[in-house]
Symmetry: C2
């Protein structure tokens, strides 16, 4: 397809698409003359991914660039999920380094649920910092609550990973990244709805 059709089908302006081309976020099309290039479905899919990461995921351009680099380097969906998690801004940025006690609590949690993380993995430190912050407010989160989160989210993660689309490796990876980033607002919205309903019943 020509640039005009790419713009129409992606809902983006030609100027925006040219900006992504210049920034290297979108691969060049196939040259078809001095001033024209042809684009295909992979370009369209990439534009939709960029748009989703910026609009719904709220990522800045630099973070999008890093996620796309992670996708390019990944050799499996598991790699891509890891790369996306590592490069994406962790939920709740700018934490001070976590305490050893909190890191130990995270380790125990992982062991209780049979999970593993590479040493120094950013999610472990995000989790530990958040526990420290709650401790500092005198609102220590109990191990019972942590276990409840882990027990609730384990089976959900099975379904999430199983629902990743597997047309080809690139599609699989994009689908895994989309699932990770773009379903978070959905999970949080449902949690808030559940809380309001439970707290209404609790009076």
């Amino acid at each position: 397809m020509w640039m005009a059709e790419l713009a129409r089908r992606s809902g983006l302006s030609v100027a925006t698409i040219k900006f992504y081309l210049r920034e290297g976020l979108l691969d060049s099309g196939e040259r078809a003359g001095a001033t024209r290039s042809r684009y295909d479905e992979s370009h369209l899919r990439r534009l939709r991914l960029i748009q989703a990461l910026t609009d719904v995921g709220g990522l800045r351009l630099e973070a999008v660039r890093q996620v796309l680099a992670g996708i390019a380097d990944a050799s499996s969906p598991h790699d891509a999920i890891g790369a996306a998690h590592t490069r994406l801004a962790p939920p709740g940025d700018d934490h001070s380094p976590p305490s050893q006690a909190a890191l130990d609590r995270v380790d125990s949690l992982l062991r209780r649920h049979g999970w593993e993380l590479a040493p120094g993995h950013p999610q472990a430190s995000v989790l530990a910092s958040s526990l420290d912050a709650l401790d500092g407010l005198g609102h220590r989160l109990s191990d019972e609550m942590l276990d409840a989160y882990a027990s609730a989210l384990g089976p959900v993660a099975e379904l999430e990973v199983a629902s990743v689309q597997r047309a080809d490796l690139e599609a699989t990876i994009e689908s895994a990244v989309i699932g990770t980033v773009l379903q978070e607002p959905i999970l949080l919205a449902i949690r808030r709805i559940a809380q309001e309903n439970v707290s209404r019943d609790a009076g």
Copy 2:
């Protein structure tokens, strides 16, 4: 306690505390002479809440002001949770208005789980917009997945609401708001950890 002790115990500078006083986020202390005021535990607790909302919750000052106003007006923890959800920036800001089809899907979800939301509630629209965004990417989220989220988070919400501290109404309300906002990064971190572990096993 005097200002110096309030600063020491809160970990904030005197300048920051005076800024919060000027901005009306913190109530004045009890006058004890021309230039001194006494503060009590309620001031300390309020400072910790402000700090948590800005540092861990990532809220801007204007959003903090709105959450605190919601707490001040609330007559029950349920009211306070509702006020906080309504005034907090929804997860994933700046959505276009959701489609009617997505709003209908949210309604059906609520009905299937015996939940209710006031008409026009912002969480319903956040949820519907996120569903639209995934649809636009060709990654329709199945009702099965939505039901899995709701089924997983319902029992968790029961525990969350039950764990709210209930010393007095103000403490209860602050605890409810902290639980809503500050546990979100924890939930998301555990979800990402679960996904990485499941996807590693799935290969």
